[in-house]
């Protein structure tokens, strides 16, 4: 008996783990300023290309793209990264960030169940949230209560080991959160939902580096075992800590009361 008779005849793609990643993108009107939406479209294309060309991750990474403005829209439901077609996001309307995040978590929950029902192992899924603003309702009025509620959902999923949320602020004007400025400060809301320490700030010169980091991270996870917690490469853009956890918790508590 010879194992050579089975060469090329193993079920390599049936049992390999998948990594679900939602790109959750703010496409509100302000994203037109300073060509932010254009840079973001280019960055996402770069990311998709990088991952699609990587032997380790191309068959494992599943991508969904969700946008939020005055509504929430699934631009791309989960698909293999190699099948994600070219996207061209257009910015207009308000910033329904909380609803967008809720929808992204719903999508990931359904995806995780789908993997489990088909016996496909899966890595801890990711949401990468890109925004330049603060959460609003569909009419553009600031909406903090819903954001605090969805942050509890993020926290619960994170603590169960079922979610990673990376928050990315597009712009170079992140401010420290204070009691006075918190409700109009994007840092306040992004800090609520980030499962990493800090918010990543994307400026013109850091876009490409960030998307390369994101694809490198997908590759490193794809090479790991499902329950490993692999060390990710350092980001080219530094994560900014803009509020202490204690202040954040206190202020969220007050704002929900």
């Amino acid at each position: 008996m010879d194992f050579k008779s089975l060469e090329g005849k193993m079920p390599s793609n049936l049992a390999q783990p998948h990594l679900a990643c939602v790109l959750l993108v703010d496409t509100s009107n302000s994203m037109n300023d300073f060509g932010k939406i254009k840079r973001l479209n280019e960055g996402i294309k770069r990311f998709i290309k990088n991952v699609s060309e990587d032997e380790n991750s191309k068959d494992k990474v599943d991508i969904a793209i969700v946008e939020f403005n005055s509504s929430v829209n699934i631009i791309q439901d989960f698909a293999p990264v190699t099948d994600v077609s070219s996207i061209d996001l257009v910015a207009e309307g308000a910033t329904m960030m909380a609803e967008g995040l809720d929808r992204a978590i719903d999508l990931l929950t359904a995806r995780r169940l789908k993997y489990a029902s088909l016996g496909v192992p899966s890595y801890k899924p990711w949401i990468v949230l890109f925004t330049d603003g603060i959460p609003t309702d569909s009419k553009g009025y600031v909406e903090s209560t819903q954001m605090i509620n969805v942050s509890k959902r993020v926290k619960s999923e994170f603590e169960k080991g079922k979610l990673t949320v990376i928050t990315v602020y597009i712009g170079d004007d992140l401010k420290e959160v204070t009691w006075e400025n918190r409700k109009k400060n994007p840092s306040y809301y992004l800090s609520m939902v980030s499962t990493k320490k800090g918010i990543l700030m994307l400026k013109d010169e850091t876009f490409e580096g960030f998307f390369d980091w994101l694809s490198d991270s997908m590759r490193i996870i794809s090479c790991s075992q499902v329950f490993d917690n692999p060390k990710l490469p350092p980001t080219s853009t530094k994560a900014v800590r803009v509020v202490s956890q204690q202040d954040l918790n206190d202020w969220m508590f007050e704002d929900i009361e």
């Binding site: 008996m1 089975l6 989960f78």
Partner: protein
Amino acid sequence: MIKGYCESKIGKSHLLKNQLLQDYSKSIIINDNLAITAIADGVGSSKKSDIAAKIAVESVIDYLSKKALESNNYVDIIRESFFLARANILKNALDLDLPEECFDTTLDAVIFTSNEIYFGHCGDGGIIGLTLDGLYEPITARIKGTDGISVIPLRFGEKYWDFGKAFSKYSSVMLATDGVYDQIVINSIGIYVKFAELLMNLADQKYTDDELINHKNQAFEFLYASTSVTDDLTISVLYDYDKIPLRQSDDYYKIPDWKKLEKNQRDNLYINGDKK
């Protein structure tokens, strides 16, 4: 006469990261009609899982090698050996002043007598039997968390352990940790018979000891080279040298149409995956 092979090899991903082998395995052929084997897969996220896997296997083998000659209540003594394994792991954790969850591991054990399989099972690896009729049967089911993914380690206790005597008469038994097991027992088809046959239908080969070692080495070389498995690899096979199983029809050994199965899986995974 019972013969067999047993080995744990470090996985590709662990090699790349300079990590330790987290699987452990051991077999002892007690006499011509009695052999014992145990394998364990230390849980990757658990800091001292390599130690836990070794303690679990050594505890079980040590206990069974003594008790299996004294008692025919094989299921009971396997159960006792699992309790002992867990107690020894806990003691080690206490000695090192570390929480027990740093020592998470799976555990599978078998007593193979003249064509009978007695087993204990915990975790996401498993045990496969080759009956004298020539059929390949999963003896155990993967034990996982309610999410269908997470590993249930030995630490979770008896509620998550499975013991018993397999129903048929067997020519061979194989224990494998999940990296290998998932290549053989596949949700959409059951057992990949052709591959299982190569690994465990050894009675009609009449291998010498050296040939058996060579066969084992070829099996691991093949697993390294021809599969996407990056996890540690453990296989333990015991077989009755004198009992050649019957041959089934050729169809039974046919290699599945993997491309078609992959397409089916892809269709199921991305059924709503179109752009909206």
